[in-house]
């Protein structure tokens, strides 16, 4: 996810002229209701269905099965006993073993310790309810009629569980050490990565804003590169750099890259630009008068740093920290590739659903993963509210002074960070064009023959571009219209605040969770929206929703910069709102709209987590292909596809820059 677009919001200023509710307002209300409904259908409802799925449990209902056993002749039958009674007598199955998953089976012979499969004894079994089910071998039987089997067949009888509602899944989760361990692992990895990333990002942003080091624009560009690649790619690069056949394997001094080390390094790589851009924004609003005051008070450099620089940027730092924490704990691609045996929550969801078809447990892990993400989000929002405008009208922009030692130091550090980023990308590029690493290093293009591999081939690449374009187009329209309703509509305070809340929610919902929730909600023939399941439409809806928040905030920021007087003037000139909207608002906000579009495009190209459950055979995506090819062990083609995504995003960025320049010349001349 790309949070980098989020700028700090200036508090709303200027007075609003209260108007009579007019036809215009009703139209606006209608639009708002439509977009609000979109968010409910695309976000709130699926999450609710998923929550209820996590409470759907499977348990062997022993009271629902009755048995009868014959004597040696097979003609005289003993008393009817239920499995529950037998279990009470024998204690054959412990209570904890009775709760199971949807695939659970329990051998009927467990209740007959004297059972011998070659004996002439016959057995009868029936359900006491119509839906009590058991299997004879692989044939499913249900119903309350007695069925009789010889002992050879009865050996093959297994009971099937009944489904009900309860917290049993959560109990199972917390009593399975491997699963519960993942909570600890995920939080630990996220915390370590946050500390490391924020330190590096702060140092870089500090160097770029407070020193006179050369090539600042270039470094800025290089440091944002990781946004353009899927998080799987640093994982693949690390395998080639530090894996068992890695170029720099010795640097790890015997430690394995597969596990926490790889996760932290990779996480720093893909979260760095997010943290860097937020802190850069925070640091660049500096008031030179504070520094002058510090200098005239003869404060040391260190004291100035701790009492002026850091406090000024503290909200940016906190915000960046939460963004990094959320990104790492919800990321799925990186730990999937480089995590080895180190369990992480997001990977657990994938394992449960794709590996074991245990949808209920997948839902449980999703609910658990929601907790830290929502917590981080709430705390961050609280902090944001306390931020006050630092930049007053009388502020004097800070201009760094030359300081040879300081400038060299900052320059060296920025070089190091750039080397790290470029090195990872270069490694992937090399891996993508080498024939058979590490044994045959001749160059080849065969790793780009995606059609011969798992994952969907070149069609997947085409699908990704289609998804990215559609997401950018529809996403920009929906998001901007929604933000306009929130910001510029008059009245309906309550409706607007609910809408705003819904728009902020996607930020706290991890992609895996959203994707899984979509399966539960849309893959249900009773749902009127069922036909979009397995189509490109659901991928677009999911991707727009997944990245809604940041785009929404960007649009909001742009709209807040527009004086509300425009509305008042338009109203007093009796102009309908749509004329104002298309003639003034949209052209003025065009740079922001373009930013939203490119943001959605780039993220739709790189996202894996939400769509990994939703793609169908004819809508496979390039980013998912990277995952699947790596999964199958075809790492070089995976790297090749990752590089294709990278180049596409670079091209998109360039086109965006060109369009932006052309349009800005035409529409922003007033600025």
């Amino acid at each position: 996810m790309n949070f980098a677009l989020e700028a700090s919001h200036l508090p709303l200023t200027g007075k609003r002229l209260r108007q009579e509710a007019s036809r215009d307002d009703l139209v606006k209300l209608g639009f708002m209701a439509v977009i609000g409904l979109y968010l409910i259908v695309a976000l709130a409802a699926p999450l609710f269905v998923m929550l209820s799925k996590s409470l759907s449990t499977y348990r062997f209902a022993l009271a629902a099965f009755e048995f009868q056993v014959s004597d040696e002749t097979g003609a005289n039958w003993g008393p009817v006993v239920s499995a529950a009674e037998l279990n009470r007598e024998l204690g054959a199955v412990a209570d904890t073993e009775l709760s199971t998953n949807s695939d659970g089976r329990l051998a009927a012979t467990k209740f007959f310790p004297e059972f011998k499969f070659r004996s002439p004894v016959h057995y009868r079994i029936r359900g006491t309810t119509d839906d009590a089910a058991f299997l004879v071998g692989s044939t499913r039987e249900t119903g309350t009629a007695w069925r009789e089997y010889d002992s050879g067949t009865f050996r093959r009888v297994v009971l099937r569980p009944a489904s009900s509602l309860g917290f049993e899944n959560f109990r199972t989760y917390f009593s399975t050490p491997a699963l519960a361990q993942s909570i600890h692992n995920s939080v630990l990895m996220a915390a370590i990565s946050t500390v490391v990333t924020i330190s590096i990002a702060f140092a870089l942003a500090y160097g770029l804003t407070r020193s006179c080091m050369p090539l600042r624009g270039l470094f800025r560009g290089i440091l944002t590169i990781p946004i353009l690649v899927p998080s799987l790619l640093p994982g693949i690069a690390l395998v080639y750099l530090f894996g068992n056949q890695g170029v720099f394997k010795d640097w790890l001094m015997g430690y394995s890259i597969y596990g926490p080390i790889g996760i932290v390094i990779g996480s720093v790589f893909f979260t760095l630009p997010h943290a860097f851009l937020i802190i850069l924004t925070a640091l660049s609003i500096a008031d030179a008068r504070h520094y002058e005051a510090a200098a005239s008070l003869k404060a040391s450099k260190w004291r100035t740093f701790t009492t002026v620089t850091v406090p000024g940027a503290r909200y940016g730092i906190v915000s960046a920290a939460f963004v990094v924490f959320t990104l790492v704990i919800t990321d799925f691609g990186l730990p999937k590739v480089i995590g080895g045996q180190y369990g992480m929550l997001a990977v657990d969801i994938y394992k449960q659903v794709i590996g074991q078809q245990n949808f209920e447990m997948g839902a449980v892990v999703s609910v658990i993963l929601l907790v830290p993400a929502v917590l981080a989000f709430v705390v961050d929002r609280r902090m944001q509210r306390r931020q006050v405008a630092l930049l007053s009208a009388r502020a004097v922009p800070y201009v760094p002074k030359r300081n040879a030692r300081m400038d060299t130091l900052c320059f060296a550090f920025a070089c190091l960070a750039s080397l790290f980023i470029l090195g990872m990308i270069a490694m992937c590029q090399i891996a993508a064009i080498v024939k058979f690493w590490p044994y045959d290093l001749t160059l080849t293009a065969k790793n780009f023959a995606f059609d011969l591999m798992d994952g969907g081939g070149w069609a997947a690449y085409g699908n990704s571009i289609r998804l990215a374009l559609l997401t950018a187009l529809f996403g920009s329209v929906i998001v901007f219209a929604g933000a306009y309703m929130v910001e510029k509509a008059d009245g309906f305070r309550f409706g607007r605040s609910i809408f705003h809340f819904l728009a902020m929610m996607p930020m706290a919902v991890p992609g895996m969770v959203l994707g899984l929730a979509y399966i539960f909600f849309f893959n249900n023939p009773a749902n009127p929206l069922y036909p979009i399941y397995g189509t490109m439409t659901i991928l677009v809806v999911c991707t727009v929703t997944h990245f809604y928040t940041v785009a929404h905030l960007t649009a909001l920021t742009a709209l807040k910069q527009m004086d509300p007087e425009f509305e008042s003037v338009a109203a007093s000139l009796k102009q309908p709102f749509h004329r104002l909207f298309f003639r003034v608002t949209v052209p003025v906000c065009l740079p922001a709209i373009l930013n939203i579009a490119i943001y959605l495009f780039v993220n739709a190209m790189t996202t894996v987590s939400a769509v990994v459950f939703l793609y169908a055979t004819d809508t496979k995506l390039a980013s998912v292909a990277v995952l699947n090819m790596d999964d199958a062990g075809d790492i070089a083609p995976a790297a090749a596809m990752g590089m294709m995504i990278f180049y596409t995003n670079v091209a998109a960025k360039l086109i965006h820059a060109l369009i932006a320049r052309g349009l800005l010349a035409r529409t922003q001349a007033w600025r």
Binding site: T100, G137, N185, G254, N523, A632, G633
Partner: protein, 340 residues
């Protein structure tokens, strides 16, 4: 509307009509066969039956199984052609398969056909557990190639073996269920306890261990024969070893999804899937096929693989899967801290 448009329309209609008159039946076929084989299988079948068209829906075994189960109440597939028999058994226990006795099924090796009459599924070919051993890395480390499952527990292999996770990979599970059927449950668990000490990673997919061994990321990959042969052709310095105790295996199989509106065409496809011709087609990649006497040796693989296969009880494996995986995860997943 002017004359020219009308003329064009008439032309278009007459061009479409014959196509409707000879309309083929379209079959939606779910599969997990290799991506490279899709076109070949489709072309060979459609040559034999030009009136039926196959629309492939392909994904890995786990995803395909999940998809079929998710669509249980509203199946989209007509036929499943090329999915693990264990997965098809799972669908069978959910009552999702249409039992059908294909013409000529009696020619097939019994172990490739479902026990019930009429059978729920019929087999195509087998993939057999095998070890991929990287000779270059082995030599560097001064190791000798293992010849048996028992060898893998030797201390010198510590940290050099990768194996698929049975909880997420069908290949992983066929190994575990194979050991249990070979040695009995208790001995198999004792063996896995020792083996676990030597494992450096449990992978998600079944072919990855072999490819990791091929790339030198591991020395020994517990996998199956097919990716081994493929990696070797691509230039990987590996030996494909079939352990002396015997190998677990899985059948790729075919079944009709219950309630399909195209039952006749589906039956035609399943009938064809058991023919000698079809089995010769499977044999291009797979060394063991269901039709006896058809199989010719596949490059890089020994010709007597079928003699290494254990007597696999699919039903036992399917009905004990949940319990085995629960125990497996309890024993080995908990130790999820990485080993350095």
């Amino acid at each position: 509307m002017n004359r020219r448009v009308l003329f064009l329309l008439a032309g278009a209609v007459s061009a479409v009509l014959p196509a409707i008159a000879f309309a083929e039946t379209q079959l939606t076929v779910y599969t997990a066969i290799e991506a490279v084989d899709l076109d070949r299988y489709k072309a060979t079948f459609e040559k034999a039956h030009p009136d039926i068209k196959i629309n492939w829906v392909r994904d890995s075994t786990g995803v395909m199984t999940a998809k079929l189960l998710a669509e249980k109440d509203n199946p989209q597939a007509d036929v499943v052609w090329g999915l693990a028999a264990t997965s098809l058994l799972l669908l069978k226990t959910e009552g999702m398969l249409e039992p059908y006795q294909p013409k000529g099924v009696e020619e097939l090796d019994k172990k490739f056909v479902d026990n019930d009459t009429p059978p729920g599924w019929v087999g195509m070919d087998a993939y057999v557990a095998a070890l991929c051993y990287n000779t270059v890395e082995g030599e560097k480390l001064g190791l000798k190639a293992p010849t048996s499952w028992e060898d893998l527990t030797k201390p010198e292999y510590k940290g050099h073996i990768v194996m698929p996770n049975p909880a997420s990979s069908g290949t992983g599970f066929l190994n575990v269920s194979g050991w249990m059927q070979l040695w009995g449950e208790d001995k198999a668990w004792a063996y896995m306890d020792k083996l676990h000490e030597n494992i450096s990673a449990y992978t998600h997919s079944g072919s990855k261990p072999c490819k990791m061994a091929g790339a030198g990321e591991a020395v020994i990959g517990v996998s199956f024969e097919f990716p081994g042969a493929k990696a070797k052709s691509a230039g990987a310095p590996i030996d494909i070893i079939f352990p002396s105790e015997g190998s677990g295996w899985e059948a790729e199989a075919t079944a009709i999804i219950g309630g399909t509106p195209n039952l006749e065409a589906a039956k035609t496809l399943v009938d064809w899937s058991v023919t000698k011709e079809a089995n010769e087609m499977y044999n291009v990649g797979y060394a063991v096929v269901a039709y006896p006497g058809v199989a010719k040796a596949v490059e890089h693989l020994p010709s007597d693989i079928s003699s290494k296969m254990i007597d696999n009880d699919f039903e036992w494996a399917a009905n004990n899967r949940t319990a085995i995986l629960k125990e497996w995860q309890k024993r080995y997943d908990a130790k999820s801290e990485p080993k350095s």
